[in-house]
């Protein structure tokens, strides 16, 4: 069996999880505590990938990241390369696709924090940013971990978006879910079965871990 697609899947899941938690934490903080007009609109926008078919996201990404699209043109001007059909391209695609899976649990974790802790921090003279980094983040570690694992699992299972934007390049964008699909199409059922079987214990173990972390919180 070819392990390379699993390696790409893992690499994608790790890269996306890291990037997404870093991006989603400030966003979730704002959504959890700030009050401003239009907040519900932003919240709905963040959740939009949940409600859209992956093919819709994939279709737009091909257009936007392509050489004629806005993102594709900017990227080409900066680096001279193409975003589509690269590893970075699928990291961006799955970051967008998994955004609500990071923001929702992070927001819930931040909201669970005792407000008195934050107020004490302000009274003791910490700035908002310092409070976020030194009080909120350390007090929601298990929530962050749960969000990270959810994103990680969601990335491992991503299929439709990557099918649209990936181009199935071996070692670059050919992830395990696509390798399974292609093996089925090529009538290599044994290989497809083996690869599918690998997913079950991995995903199950991670979900158990999420449960643990949530109970700990």
């Amino acid at each position: 069996m070819d392990w390379q697609p699993f390696y790409v899947t893992l690499k994608l899941a790790v890269a996306t999880t890291g990037l997404l938690i870093a991006l989603a934490a400030p966003l979730a903080y704002v959504l959890a505590y700030a009050r401003f007009p239009g907040k519900s609109m932003i919240e709905a926008l963040v959740n939009l990938p949940l409600a859209l078919p992956p093919t819709v996201i994939g279709f737009y990404l091909v257009v936007v990241m392509g050489p004629k699209g806005a993102a594709g043109r900017v990227w080409e001007a900066l680096t001279g390369g193409s975003l589509l059909f690269t590893f970075l391209g699928i990291v961006i695609a799955s970051t967008l696709y998994s955004l609500p899976f990071a923001v929702q649990p992070l927001k819930a974790a931040f909201q669970r924090i005792d407000r008195r802790l934050m107020e004490s921090a302000y009274i003791l003279g910490l700035s908002r940013k310092a409070t976020f980094l030194r009080v909120i983040i350390p007090n929601s570690v298990s929530g962050i971990a749960a969000a990270a694992i959810l994103v990680f699992l969601h990335c491992m299972g991503a299929f439709g978006v990557l099918l649209m934007v990936g181009g199935s390049l071996p070692g670059e964008t050919k992830v395990a879910s696509i390798a399974i699909y292609e093996a089925v199409e090529a009538m290599k059922y044994r290989e497809a079965g083996l690869m599918s079987l690998c997913f079950i214990p991995i995903s199950y173990a991670f979900l158990l871990l999420v449960n643990r972390l949530n109970r700990g919180a």
Partner: protein
């Protein structure tokens, strides 16, 4: 009061929507699993057949490999139009399909949305151009047009030499989509897609080195509409359908 009225409307709407397909199913209907390259021609052929006989033919378009997998797993199709000879023959051997027949011979072309792509002397030179960074090829393992494209590239000595440029699409239709959105500079497509409205906007090279793609079809043994399925199979190879196929570049 308002709320109850709202509920009533929703109920009515659901009920009406539910009824619409019922009124259609009074007419006899065939379900065909059709290889993605044949979309345009099939749509016209099935319309002509419906005008003639009143039997409607609904099609599911996907790659031949995907459709084959669905059929093996019991999908309720009446006919299978593959893009190769191997899969219908295999269905026949396994007992799921009747004897296969050839319904079209397709050709592989190299198509681009940019007209200046075709200024080079031939397709090999066009591909070697350094500005051509990515070229879409349908998966050679599952899509017969991809297999033909790979054969031509191997023959021309370019398959390994330009390995960095290939982007793999799941079907020949996706290869065309990549090329037409300029996601790739060009794509190996079916000659039939060049004939579409979108295809006419670009330009193409014929790939003489690519073997003709012999496409065969079969009636599936589980069909409850045998007579109609046989009539459609006969229509598919009739001169009338032949004229439509000609227009889309099949012979």
């Amino acid at each position: 009061m308002m709320r109850r009225l709202g509920c009533g409307w929703v109920f009515l709407l659901v009920w009406v929507l539910w009824l619409i397909p019922l009124s259609v199913s009074a007419q006899e209907r065939l379900n065909a699993a059709v290889a993605a390259n044949f979309i345009q021609a099939f749509t016209e052929i099935s319309q002509a057949f419906e005008r003639k006989t009143g039997v409607r033919v609904e099609a599911t378009f996907s790659s031949s490999g995907n459709l084959y997998g669905q059929i093996v797993n019991g999908a309720p199709y009446d006919l299978y139009l593959s893009a190769d000879e191997e899969r219908p023959a295999r269905l026949n051997k396994e007992g799921a399909g009747e004897r296969p027949f050839v319904y079209a011979r397709g050709r592989c072309v190299l198509w681009s949305a940019r007209k200046d792509f075709c200024r080079a002397g031939d397709w090999r030179t066009a591909l070697r151009d350094e500005d051509v960074k990515r070229v879409a090829v349908a998966n050679p393992e599952t899509a017969p047009y991809g297999t033909a494209a790979r054969a031509a590239l191997v023959k021309a000595g370019l398959w390994e030499a330009l390995k960095q440029k290939w982007v793999f699409a799941q079907t020949i239709a996706q290869a065309f989509q990549y090329a037409s959105t300029s996601a790739t500079a060009a794509g190996f497509c079916a000659y039939s897609s060049v004939m579409s409205d979108e295809g006419k906007k670009g330009c193409f090279y014929r790939i003489e080195e690519a073997p003709a793609i012999v496409q065969s079809a079969c009636i599936l043994k589980r069909t409850p509409h045998r007579a109609s399925a046989e009539a459609f199979a006969a229509f598919l190879i009739s001169p009338e359908a032949g004229a439509i196929k000609d227009r889309y570049g099949y012979h």
